[in-house]
C-alpha cells in the first residue's frame, strides 16, 4: 500500500513549527491595527491570547483532576 508520510521528516516538522510561531506573532502584531470593542471593560492588549492560553491550561488540569476522582476500569459497568 502506498503511504503518504510527510510528517515524519524533520524538515517538514521544523517548517510547520516556524510557521505556527510566525502566525502567533503576526496575530499579536496585527492587534495594534485593530479597533477595540468599547463593550468589554477588561479588554486589554493580547487579552484574547492570554485568555485562550490560560483556558486551555485550565481545561487540561481540570480534566486531570476529574480523572483522578472519577476514573474507573473499563468493565466497571460489566462487559
Amino acid at each position: 500500500m502506498r503511504e503518504f508520510d510527510p510528517f515524519s521528516s524533520k524538515k517538514v516538522r521544523r517548517i510547520g513549527t516556524v510557521l505556527f510561531y510566525l502566525l502567533l506573532f503576526s496575530l499579536l502584531f496585527f492587534e495594534f491595527f485593530m479597533e477595540k470593542h468599547p463593550l468589554l471593560p477588561f479588554e486589554r492588549y493580547a487579552f484574547f491570547a492570554a485568555f485562550g492560553f490560560v483556558s486551555c491550561v485550565f481545561v487540561i488540569y481540570g480534566a486531570k483532576i476529574l480523572r483522578y476522582f472519577l476514573k474507573r476500569k473499563e468493565d466497571y459497568y460489566g462487559k
Binding site: L24, C56, L66
Partner: protein, 586 residues
Amino acid sequence: MGNNLAALLPFLFYAGSIGLLIRYKTWQKVVLLGIPILSIFIFFFLHKGVSGQLNFFGYALNISRLDSLSYPFVLIFLIMSILGSIYSLHHTDRLQHCSSLAYAGSAIGVVLAGDWFTLYVFWELMAIFSTFLILARRTEGARKAAFRYFSVHVLGGLLLLGGILMEVKTAKGLQIGHLDLKGLSSWLIFLGIALNGAIPPLHAWLKDAYPEATVTGAVFMSAFTTKSAVYLMARVFAGTELLIWLGAIMTILPVFYAEVENDLRRVLSYSIINQVGFMMCGVGIGTQLAINGAVSHAFCHIIYKALLFMSTGAVLHVTGRIRCTELGGVYKTMPITALFCMIAAASISAFPLFSGFVSKSMIISASENERLIIAWLMLQFASAGVIAHAGIKVPFFAFFGHDRGLRAKEPPINMLFSMGVAAFLCVFLGVYPKPLYQILPYPVDYVPYTGHHVISQGQLLLFAILAFYLMLKAGVYPPELKAINLDLDWFYRRLLGGYLLPWLLRLIELISSWAYRVISVGLTRSLCLLPNRLPNLLVGLCLGLLRPFSIYERLKKELLDTLLKEPSSISMALAVVGIFLLWILL
C-alpha cells in the same frame, strides 16, 4: 405546488422506510437515496404557511407549519438525511436503512408540527426509530445501551406528554407557541425538551448511547434528536433566562470529560453537548441576533458534527477500532479521511473561513450586546475548550499521535463522497455565509469578518493550541488510558440498577414468600381442624383458590430472572411506570 405537500414530507420518509422492506439491493439503494432527494426537491417548491389541517376529536391539528423558524431546520434535516444516506449506501442492513429513514422523517415531523399532539407523536416515533440504530450494532453492550436510551427517552416523552395535557386543559388550544416558565405544565414541557436536548443534569443518555450505535447510525443520531430540541426550545422558551445559564454550564462541563475520554465517538458525544450548549445559550438570550445565532449554529453544527462522526466512523469501519489507546498514525494510508476530519475539526473550533466561525460568533456577539459578561466569559472559555478536545484531540489521536502500525485502507467511495460534500459545505458556509444568513428567522445585519472578530478569535484559538502543544511536549497532558470516567448515568446504571433494585427485589421476595406461607399453610391447617366433610370441601376450594398463587410464584421467578439480568433498563421502566401513575393522578 400546494402547501399540503409539506405535511406529506415525514410520511414520504415512512413510505420509503416501508419500501425498503423489499429485499432487492439496487431497489434499496434507489429508495434510500431517492426519498431524501425527492423530499428536498418538493421542499424547494413549498411556500411558508400552515398545512395538513385535521380535526381530531374536536381539536384542530396542524401537521405542518412551515415558517421562518422551522424552514432552516427542515432544510438542514433534509440535507443531513441525504448525506447520511450516501454515507450508508455501502451496507445492506435493512434494519438500519429502514430505521434511519423513519428516524429522519420523524425528526422532520417534529420540526414541522404545528400542534402539540402531532409533535408528541413524532417525538416518540423519533425515540423509537433511533433506538433501532443502536440495536442494529447487534452486540451485548449495544443492546443494553439501547434499552437504557429508550427508557430515558420514554421518561422524557412522558414528562412532555404530562405537560402537554395540562397545558391543553388550560384551554389555550393545541397550537405550539411561546410559554413562560411558570407553573407545573410549562416546567414538565421544559424538562421533556431539555432531556432530548441533553441539558445537564439530563445529559448522560447521550454520551452513553451514541458511541454504542452503528457506524452509520451515529451519523444520523448526531444530527436529529438534540437539534430538534433546540428548535423546540427556540419555539417555546425563547428568552428564558434560565436557559442562558444552563447553556453556558452545558458548554463547559463536557469539555473536561471529553479531554480524558478514551472512546473517540464518546469524545464527540460530549462535544455535541458542548455545542448544543452554545445554541441553548443563544435561545436563552432570545434577541433576534441570538436566535439567528442559535439557528445558524445548529445548521452548521449538524454538518461538521456529522462529518466528525463520519470520519471517525470510517476509521472504525476499516480498522474496527475507535479508542485512542488503539489508534494513531492511520493518516499515512487514509490521508483523505484525515483531511476531512481536520476540516470538520477546524469548523467546530470556529476558525475563520470555516462554518463554525460565522455562526458561533453571532451567539457570542449577542451575549456581548446584552452585557452578559459572565456568560460571555463562559462561552469564550468553552470555545478554547472546544479546540482542546474536538479541534485537536480527535484528529490527533485518530490519525496522528502514536503510530500503532495500523495500515488501513481508505473507506468505500460512497463514504468518501459523503464526507467530501460535508467538508465542502463546511468551507463554503465559512467563506460565503450569505445563503445561510438569508434563511435565518430574522433579518441579518451581522458581519462576521471584522478585524476584531478574526484577530480575537485567532488569538484565542492559536494560543490555546500553543498551550496544548507545550503541555503535550512537557508530558503534562493526560495520557490515553484504557478507562472510563463516571458521569451522571452512574445513578441509574449503578446506584438504581446495581444496588437499590436488588435490595428492593429481595424485600419484595421476602414479604411475598412470608405471605404465601402464612396464607397457604396456615389456612389449610386451620381448615383441617374443622369437623367432618366440610373440611374436605373447603380444602379443595382452598387449594383451588391458591392455584393462582402458585402461578404467581412461577411468574415472579421468571420476572426476577429477567430483572436481575437487565436491572438498569427495568429500573428505568419502573421509574416510567411511576411517572405514568403520577400523570394519571394529575
